[in-house]
Subunit: 549 residues, 2 copies
């Protein structure tokens, strides 16, 4: 019996991780992180719960990484810390993985194995062909997984791009070849299923970028995701054509470009790349800076430039800043903020609302249809999306002629089963989202987040008091300390009155009672809450520290 078990990515964007299982053999596809939701205050990243993997660790043959994005590799160090299994991926993907493992001091202990697109990996009883797909990073692959029950196609993240260079395109012929032979099930990327039509080609993007850069008189600053290596190469080509020198800035940009250069994915005439310190020696119209910060990340190079605190670059009138990237939901305000700041410093800013200078890496509706048409799957399983994406993708497949009962909308943890009786959802394994905060993995949960939210909205008031155990007399306090509550200068009478409220409570409760302190604590919390709510309509967290001596 073949089992496909999504541990993440089917119900959210990110967190991609799937287990493929047949009897005693298992392998994993991807180990991605998710960036925290708004309510996950203070949380750095989210990773999938891996209990199922832990319980079955001796069955696992390895993990395949489809491409080098964080939502596919970000949880890998956490997996490899616990379980030593070989990792398979393309050369570029594994180089990025290696850099990541170095950060976690795991690099020496891990077995990384390059598999090129077109090659087949054997993990008995599975034979897995890596099929090249176009995406917003390079060397992405989809997988054709031959199993005893039939062939399962996993697209990874993909789009269908029509570029003159076939290495930039999805290898449609290979998908078609499997379609001809017969595909048991297609698992396909749902991220952009809400968007009609086709993605723009990278050549089109380059043409539009070229126009903007050609028209620029001053410096040009291009921000994009560091992993978007094709586009970086295209921007370099444009720079060369325009006689501009290229400067890379931002840690992740420099790191990924180094890998891409090493593997031959980025190339340019000698003396094209300059160090950032050399900028001041160049005329403005000879400068093109490629940098990070397209999402308004607080410490990124672009944000530092926009805020006037960048070490080497001060934005000035005549500068042209190009944001060649999408606005990830949740980042819109941060990005808008930066654009405003750049305008205020006199720069011209080009972004997706104002120019077609970005194309998504995820297939739009027509491309998704094409994938269905080429692979002719018996079953269809939408992957990589929030719940609505999965449902909409499922309906698209139905409209394309897949019978409704052969379209399986599964969510994280649900077991998709294939055997002689066909395919179905049958069973459930434990899964979930594990929040990582600093070095703590999973020690921030619902109650901690609730407290953080309360603290963020109303601050807190600590009440300290020492009471004589025998007599019930207050020996010290009540002293009130507040944080994140109101301006200190505004607390004067508030504090005085609150102290009266507290003292009244203390008096009401008889000395020597067994649960006296508990009782005071509870009543004091309630009374102060009411008091602050009435006087200034706020709800600070009340922390009573009551000591009997």
């Amino acid at each position: 019996m073949l089992k496909l078990i999504p541990l993440g990515g089917l119900g959210e964007i990110g967190l991609n991780m799937m287990v493929v299982e047949y009897d005693d053999a298992m392998f994993i596809i991807d180990a991605g992180l998710m960036f925290p939701e708004d309510y996950m205050l203070g949380v750095d990243i989210v990773i999938p719960a891996m209990d199922y993997i832990r319980e079955n660790s001796r069955k696992i043959h390895g993990i395949i990484i489809t491409h080098a994005h964080e939502d596919h590799i970000g949880a890998l160090p956490y997996l490899l810390k616990e379980i030593r299994i070989p990792v398979y991926g393309t050369a570029f993907t594994l180089e990025i993985v290696r850099n990541k493992l170095v950060e976690f001091e795991l690099n020496t202990r891990v077995d990384l194995n390059v598999v090129n697109p077109g090659e087949t990996l054997s993990m008995d009883p599975f034979e897995i062909e890596f099929i090249r797909v176009s995406h917003s990073t390079i060397e992405g692959v989809g997988l054709a997984i031959q199993t005893p029950e039939g062939v399962v196609i996993h697209t990874g993240d993909f789009r269908i791009s029509h570029n003159t260079d076939p290495l930039k395109n999805t290898d449609l012929s290979s998908f078609a070849r499997y379609g001809e032979k017969g595909v048991l099930a297609l698992l396909s990327d749902s991220t952009n299923v809400e968007v009609e039509g086709y993605t723009m080609s990278e050549q089109e993007v380059a043409k539009n970028l070229g126009k903007v850069i050609f028209a620029a008189r001053g410096r040009v600053i291009v921000t994009l995701f560091a992993s978007n290596v094709f586009r970086i190469q295209q921007v370099i080509d444009i720079a060369v054509k325009n006689g501009r020198k290229v400067v890379f800035n931002g840690r992740s940009m420099e790191q990924i470009v180094a890998v891409a250069v090493k593997l031959g994915h980025i190339s340019c005439p000698p003396d094209t790349i300059m160090d950032i310190k050399q900028i001041k020696n160049l005329p403005d119209d000879k400068v093109l800076i490629i940098t990070t910060g397209s999402q308004g990340e607080p410490m990124s190079a672009l944000v530092r430039m926009a805020s006037g605190v960048h070490k080497h670059i001060r934005i000035k009138k005549g500068d042209n800043v190009i944001l060649s990237s999408k606005h990830i939901p949740g980042n819109e305000k941060a990005i808008a903020n930066i654009i405003n700041k750049l305008y205020r410093r006199g720069a011209d800013v080009f972004y997706s609302k104002s120019a077609d200078i970005h194309a998504s890496g995820h297939a739009h509706q027509e491309e998704l249809k094409l994938m269905l048409t080429l692979t002719k799957p018996g079953y269809f399983i939408p992957i990589h999306g929030e719940y609505r994406h999965l449902v909409i993708h499922a309906r698209l497949a139905e409209k394309m002629g897949i019978p409704r009962e052969h379209v399986l909308v599964a969510e994280d943890g649900q077991v998709i089963v294939f055997d002689h009786k066909g395919g179905r959802i049958d069973g459930q394994v434990h899964t979930g989202r594990i929040m990582v905060d600093g070095k703590g993995i999973g020690d921030v949960g619902r109650s901690v987040l609730k407290e953080r939210r309360e603290l963020s909205e109303g601050g807190l008031v600590v009440v300290t008091m020492i009471i004589d155990e025998e007599t019930g007399v207050v020996l010290y306090g009540p002293e009130l300390i507040s944080k994140g509550f109101v301006f200190d200068s505004a607390t004067g009478h508030l504090v005085d009155d609150a102290q009266c409220v507290i003292l009244e409570i203390v008096e009401e409760i008889e000395a020597g009672m067994d649960s006296r302190v508990e009782l005071i604590r509870a009543r004091l919390k309630k009374a102060l809450k009411q008091y602050f709510s009435y006087t200034i309509n706020r709800k600070p967290l009340i922390v009573p520290v009551i000591i009997e001596v």
Copy 2:
């Protein structure tokens, strides 16, 4: 000398407020709020700083409200609490204002005066004609302000709509009439200046809504802004045509609909409107519910439905939920969340990405150009926008032939002056954003927000200790209480070790020292920060409570 002084809205979306001044006479246009930015933790709303108005209160003749949206009326109660001036607006606008004032217990003290579109208000030396504009609420107006220096046109928030009913359209002829006679300056809405083309007409929206509702077999639930009265009427018309009864749900919806019915803006055949409790007696295909929550507001009717906690409505398979509204930046994730939840409960969901069922109330580029063409202003001043909107609108005006030195990009607080020497920006008055949190106005500032942010990200640790003043011996503690830090169960060894760290510090510092407690407090904070950073890489706020007895 004529002065136009924006106190808000020129540098942000929302907060709209402008002072018009000539010698000793002043009036105000709008008093809007802004919803808090992400970093304004716990803040309810933001209002403009009104110091300039306060200082000149005896000069003020009144305030004109251009329309009934919160970003134009939300700060009005705070203004009227301080300064009693007459309020002018259209009938609907003033009814909504009245409801608001009731909430603030201000209604009996305020002088509200209806001015209809086409009528002129005199406030010596100003003559102000109210000109009907189309917007996403009804009875919006722009203003033609005759001043001793010439006519100033203030568009308010507007779009140019082509509906068969002229009462739904912007009164282009009146704007043109002023253009013919000569306009000193045009102040025009910049909100949608980034968007090409024209806004869709409300008739087009209705057509598309009609298709969706006609095709629906189960219940239909439409969410939109309660103030979008035209569209509510159109949805009612569609319901009637489809033989569906209409139920209004949500407090603001019921309130505004009541006003609209009273003023004749909403009408329908008898027995069309039903109470929500009657739904259960109707077949599903006879029900249409109009409700609030299009922005995913936490306590709104739609969110309660999607979460399964609505008192009367449980979402079920076959329900059709239509979100006929834009996704306000910052709300995308909340809205996506609701859509996912609705799908999970089996509903079909229609929203702007999937169907053309919303049109913006703010003019797109072509409409902005038309306003420039009709009014032929001598000077152009972009209003109502973030900084980038103002700059882009300014460039649009330049492209339309307004000389660059006649295009004035002003920001909040800058004084725009017109006299015999022409128009220019000259001077600055105090302005700013005042944060309102509960009943506190302006008592939450930078330091409080910084503490709230720290608390939200890392929680806090309170350290309590009693020390003998003479001997320096620790009599009680150190006791650690944490909130929003880590799970209680995970704190065990952390707390033990932290206590050791603290005790070491106490021992190091000599008893009887003058500043002993201060010193312990400072060192303890630093040491605990380092300790928690090293062990779990987190930064809780440390609150030491050290008592000497």
